[in-house]
């Protein structure tokens, strides 16, 4: 395989896809925890924050990498997509700002202000998830602002928000115990329908937006070869639903299952979307080959990426290992 104008865009599209997927999973559970804030007591909130405290910053960096790859590898697409999504992007950014700073302020500001910062944490998480779901819907609909598209995007905004709260609850089942864990199981049971609705809406809508995508899925033999994707998703949702009826279990067995299941669902959904839209980066308008930067510049980035990405994965694993187990006792203090 030679690195040229036909292979490099594919490699970078794959890298960007990987970043988006990791972001949606990793920051998905951070945002989900924020969305569940109003349902928790003040003590539980401290514990919920403790479960994501060491990770959220690095998790958000995957968004920076994804948007960075879009920016550097597909500059024309970056401009087209972000100008079309100007307002939801602004809402998301304000949300990310509120969420990120509330994290710090809630514990450092005078105690009397803590509740306000908790509210800001929730609002920030809500604005971010809603805006991301809205952008997902607009993207699927081809970035065209019509009334029907906006209505669909509003639906996906709601669905992604509930889906994030589901994966957030699944994370809490894994990272907490006792009363909070029991509560988290109840939250997950409430949220699983959002996950199902979101996946269903996007999966059903995508083929009808363009005949090209319809052909890709429903012509023979693709329809048979691809059948496992939706079937596995449905089976997984059923399994998740059953497991949530029996959690938390004695000895905390299978506390990992809801989070693993939610992650797998997101991976499946993501591959489905990738399959639908390839080779387009701006749906039905601009392909990754047309939008790509010059091969020389992409090569320079690729060399660095191949060297640095394994290191990033290595120390990310180190961090999750250091903070493994149930989330308790999180403080800056050491030996006292």
């Amino acid at each position: 395989m030679t690195l040229d104008a036909t292979t490099l865009p594919v490699i970078f599209a794959a890298l960007m896809g990987l970043s988006i997927l990791l972001y949606v999973i990793l920051d998905g559970f951070d945002l989900g925890v924020g969305l569940l804030f109003p349902l928790a007591t003040p003590e539980e909130r401290d514990r919920m924050i403790a479960s994501i405290g060491p990770f959220w910053d690095a998790n958000e960096t995957w968004l920076v990498l994804a948007i960075g790859i879009l920016l550097v590898a597909f500059p024309t697409a970056h401009g087209t997509i972000l100008t079309a999504l100007y307002l939801p992007v602004a809402v998301m950014l304000v949300g990310l700002i509120l969420r990120g700073v509330a994290f710090e302020f809630r514990a450092k500001a005078p105690l009397a202000h803590k509740q306000s910062w908790d509210r800001a944490f929730f609002c920030g998480s809500l604005m971010t998830s809603g805006a991301q779901g809205f952008m997902l819907g607009m993207y699927v609909m081809g970035l065209d602002w019509t009334l029907f598209h906006v209505a669909f995007a509003a639906l996906t905004a709601g669905a992604l928000t509930v889906a994030y709260s589901f994966i957030g609850a699944a994370w809490l089942i894994l990272k907490t115990d006792e009363a909070l864990q029991i509560k988290a199981v109840a939250w997950a049971r409430g949220g699983i329908w959002g996950m199902a609705l979101g996946l269903g809406a996007v999966s059903l809508a995508t083929p009808f937006v363009s005949t090209r995508i319809f052909e890709r899925w429903f012509s023979f033999p693709e329809v048979v070869l691809l059948a496992p994707l939706p079937l596995m998703s449905v089976a997984l949702i059923v399994l998740l639903w059953l497991s949530l009826r029996h959690l938390p279990s004695k000895g905390d067995h299978f506390a990992w299952f809801p989070f693993a299941g939610a992650t797998t669902l997101m991976v499946l959904g993501f591959f489905g979307m990738g399959y639908s839209f390839y080779p387009f980066i701006v749906p039905e308008q601009l392909t990754i080959y047309e939008a790509a930067s010059s091969p020389e510049s992409l090569k320079i980035i690729l060399v660095g990426a191949l060297f640095v990405l394994p290191m990033i994965i290595g120390y990310t694993v180190l961090s999750y290992t250091v903070f493994r187990g149930k989330a308790t006792n999180l403080s800056y203090d050491w030996d006292r």
């Binding site: 405290g53 690095a58 958000e60 960096t61 990498l65 960075g68 970056h78 700073v101 120390y315 990310t316």
Partner: protein, 457 residues
């Protein structure tokens, strides 16, 4: 107001707000490493207390830096699509390297640095602190490489109006990079030195008798006294470099309209771009010639050289550059005066007997680094106008086609959010200082044996 002007104000607001926090974290990371290492070596509680206090400020500043930085990476696309379309082949790899070599490093090890002290061995905690400091500095390196390239581009060729990289060594080590990087790193060091001294002075004023506070006061003042001469020298070198590569910017900084010898150094003036002259000048004869050319009859470029035959102005707006430069230099002089007076007082009287007026002045200078840094960035960035990338791309050519009311609405939102966060940030730093001065451990609000002593504190 049109989309172009609003987009400029919006980006200026975002980047101004953003740079405040990296300016603190770049140097504070290294200071924390010193505190942490001193504690590991001496076992003295005062070093740990200093670390514990400033690591909170670091975490807060870092979070603000991250979120405002993300905003900017999106605004390249939402408001300035022409930038990446024209120079993406150079800017892209540099930004990618910043994300890959710096952002992940600092974000991941920040978690271990903040919350891992009890979970990892001391060497790993010190290593995590080092990697966070290293990451912030790497980030500064890449972004200043890109910014410097925008001022003094080389190592590229134009094909159909699009920049293509030809020589990455030339791009990275472009002529203004070493000076700009040095100037910014020193600015960060000074900002942190005066912040530490200022907050420690405030704690002394409200009756803090902790030994750690005295150590921090001494540390901040001496660091400031050591860095400020280096910064003045670096600023001079940077100015001479700018004279070589961007003479129009220097002409605006000096408020000099006509090229010629014996150009005075203006201490005060009101530049008038319409009449192309200055009002109410207070000047030191031949001062500018002496500083820029090291001789009284040295020829200094004038703004009138940068007006085309047809009257098109190809130099930056004069007043903001002229005044930004004076605010920066004035703040630097105040820093020199305060820190050297401080060093003298420390030597003569000791840290515990500094006079109250001096402590008041030091508290007042706590955020002086921000003022000088912002003023300096305004000089260099406004001084590059009308270019976004000197000689390659004008700012106007890069702006995106977004409806003006939409830009206005988001601008107002950002400004409101930034203003509120600014007040909260400064308020919280003083709140933390008061709490520390009252000798209250931050965990006091919770029962001592609570399972979770204020998470993410």
């Amino acid at each position: 107001m049109d989309t172009f002007l609003l987009s400029r104000i919006q980006f200026a607001a975002n980047i101004s707000f953003h740079i405040l926090f990296p300016t603190i974290t770049i140097a504070l990371g290294w200071v924390l490493l010193v505190f942490r290492y001193r504690y590991a070596r001496t076992g003295l509680a005062k070093w740990m207390e200093a670390y514990m206090f400033w690591v909170k400020v670091f975490a807060l500043s870092f979070a603000l830096g991250v979120v405002s930085g993300i905003t900017m990476s999106f605004q390249f696309g939402t408001n300035w699509p022409g930038f990446m379309e024209a120079v993406g082949n150079v800017a892209g790899p540099l930004l990618a390297y910043e994300i890959m070599t710096a952002f992940f490093l600092e974000a991941v090890f920040l978690g271990i640095m903040l919350f891992g002290a009890r979970r990892v061995p001391p060497w790993l905690h010190i290593l995590a602190t080092f990697l966070v400091a290293f990451g912030t500095t790497m980030s500064a390196f890449w972004i200043l490489v890109l910014n410097s390239w925008m001022h003094t581009p080389q190592g590229y060729e134009l094909r159909d109006g699009i920049v293509h990289a030809t020589d990455w060594f030339a791009i990275i080590f472009n002529p203004s990079m070493p000076y700009r990087l040095g100037h910014m790193l020193l600015a960060s060091g000074l900002t942190v030195a005066f912040l530490i001294a200022g907050i420690a002075a405030f704690r002394r004023l409200i009756g803090d008798r902790e030994e750690s506070t005295l150590t921090q006061l001494r540390f901040g003042l001496i660091l400031g006294a050591m860095l400020i001469p280096a910064q003045i020298l670096m600023g001079d070198l940077h100015g001479l470099n700018t004279l070589d590569h961007q003479p129009a910017k220097v002409a605006a900084m000096e408020g000099n309209w006509e090229t010629g010898p014996n150009v005075p150094l203006l201490l005060f003036a009101i530049p008038d771009e319409a009449a192309r002259t200055n009002h109410a000048e207070i000047a030191i004869p031949s001062g500018a010639s002496l500083i820029l050319k090291h001789s009284a009859d040295g020829v200094v470029p004038g703004l009138n050289d940068f007006v085309a035959e047809d009257g098109t102005v190809m130099h930056p707006p004069v007043a903001p550059v002229f005044w930004g430069f004076r605010v920066m230099v004035g703040t630097g002089m105040a820093m020199l005066a305060l820190s050297w007076a401080g060093a003298l007082l420390l030597w003569r009287r000791g840290a515990d007997a500094l006079p109250r007026p001096f402590l008041f002045a030091t508290t007042g200078m706590a955020f002086s680094g921000w003022l000088a840094t912002l003023a300096g960035w305004y000089v260099t960035e406004i001084g590059r106008q009308p270019w976004l990338v000197t000689g390659v791309l004008t700012t106007e050519a890069a702006v995106g086609d977004v409806a003006a009311p939409m830009v206005m609405a988001t601008l107002m939102t950002y400004l409101a959010v930034y203003l509120a966060l600014m007040i909260a940030y400064i308020g919280v730093i003083f709140h933390l200082a008061k709490r520390a001065a009252a000798g209250k451990r931050p965990t006091r609000e919770e029962p001592r044996d609570a399972p979770i002593p204020v998470p993410a504190e």
